[in-house]
């Protein structure tokens, strides 16, 4: 059986850096960036995409709908 592989895309300009995604991620692989967007927020980014299973937790808790999640099964 193939392993679930996931990845996220963050709308960096929409993100307000509330960090709720980071807390929700069960694998602890979503963090706030060191750089800031135009509004001055540290935005969310995935630190270790190879571990992501595409569980969608980070995106579900995102109040601003900034995270899109992709998931596929590894052959």
């Amino acid at each position: 059986m193939g392993k679930m592989r996931g990845a996220i895309v963050v709308d960096e300009e929409r993100c307000k850096g509330c960090n709720l995604c980071s807390i929700a991620c069960p694998l602890n692989i979503v963090k706030l960036s060191m750089t800031v967007n135009h509004k001055g927020y540290n935005f969310a980014e995935q630190t270790d995409w190879e571990k992501c299973t595409g569980c969608t937790s980070c995106a579900i808790v995102c109040p601003d709908g900034c995270i899109t999640v992709y998931r596929t099964k590894e052959d």
Partner: protein
């Protein structure tokens, strides 16, 4: 497997609902309002009700709700959303009509309109964001502010002799014959968000099917008003708000 093998349109499993537009929301980082807006957009989209929804927003932080979800919106005056929704639903009985109100709007200035709309059994869904504070005006005491809780207008903590007691409007709603579904939810964790979504969906379906009035309270955070980080606000809510405003269904006559 490379990143580009995963990030393909056919692999998309979750994203911002298409009814939620690109306008950046004015809410503070981590605000529960955004989450509830997202759920509302998702549900209307899933129900295919875009052309049959009339949404009514309040005065308070959600005053600009109409900027973010692509359905027809009415911005009601402070507290009067339930009255406005009552006439709209009676004039358009096949439409999904819902109100979106905060604690100041529904449980203080608009108590009469809220209770009477519920008691008449208006076939509307009412979403009630309870964060125990006035957010928009800068963190003043709300009718639902907890005992001892500090706000700009009770800086030494809410005390009964000065400020009276928190109003349990949702509990009152459950006693009214006109309500068919009264529930209290939260959006602090993934399981709670899923439950809240299910509750709002049921309320919307009740409106469409003409089952009576539904009230979905969302116990929410106000990180700015509470002067906490979004994470601390969630923790504070779990510790302090949930014991006072316990989650779960208070009434469901539709099941």
């Amino acid at each position: 497997m490379e990143l580009q093998d995963i990030i393909k349109p056919e692999n998309k499993v979750y994203g911002k609902p298409s009814l939620m537009n690109e306008t950046p929301m004015h809410y503070c980082p981590g605000c529960s309002h955004g989450l509830v807006h997202k759920l509302v957009a998702e549900i209307i989209e899933e129900m295919g009700m875009e052309e049959d929804t009339i949404a009514i927003c309040p005065v308070g932080c959600a005053v600009f709700a109409y900027r973010y979800v692509d359905v027809d919106w009415i911005e009601a005056s402070h507290g009067r959303a339930p009255a406005c929704a009552s006439s709209v639903k009676r004039l358009w009985p096949k439409k999904l009509v819902f109100t979106y109100q905060g604690d100041g709007d529904m449980a203080c200035i608009g108590t009469a309109e809220a209770i009477h709309a519920m008691n008449r059994g208006e076939n509307i869904a009412m979403i009630f964001i309870n964060n125990a504070i006035y957010g928009m005006t800068g963190g003043q005491m709300a009718p639902t502010t907890l005992m001892g809780m500090k706000t700009a207008t009770c800086p030494y903590g809410r005390q009964a002799d000065l400020h009276g007691y928190p109003l349990h409007i949702t509990d009152i709603a459950a006693t009214l014959e006109g309500t068919c579904y009264v529930t209290r939810q939260a959006v602090n964790t993934v399981p709670n968000i899923r439950k809240a979504k299910k509750a709002i969906r049921q309320a919307f379906e009740n409106s469409l099917k003409g089952k009576g009035c539904s009230l979905v309270e969302i116990v929410s955070t106000c990180a700015s008003g509470w002067k906490k980080t979004p994470q601390q606000a969630n923790e504070w809510m779990e510790e302090n708000m949930f014991p006072y405003y316990p989650l779960g269904d208070l009434k469901n006559t539709v099941e």
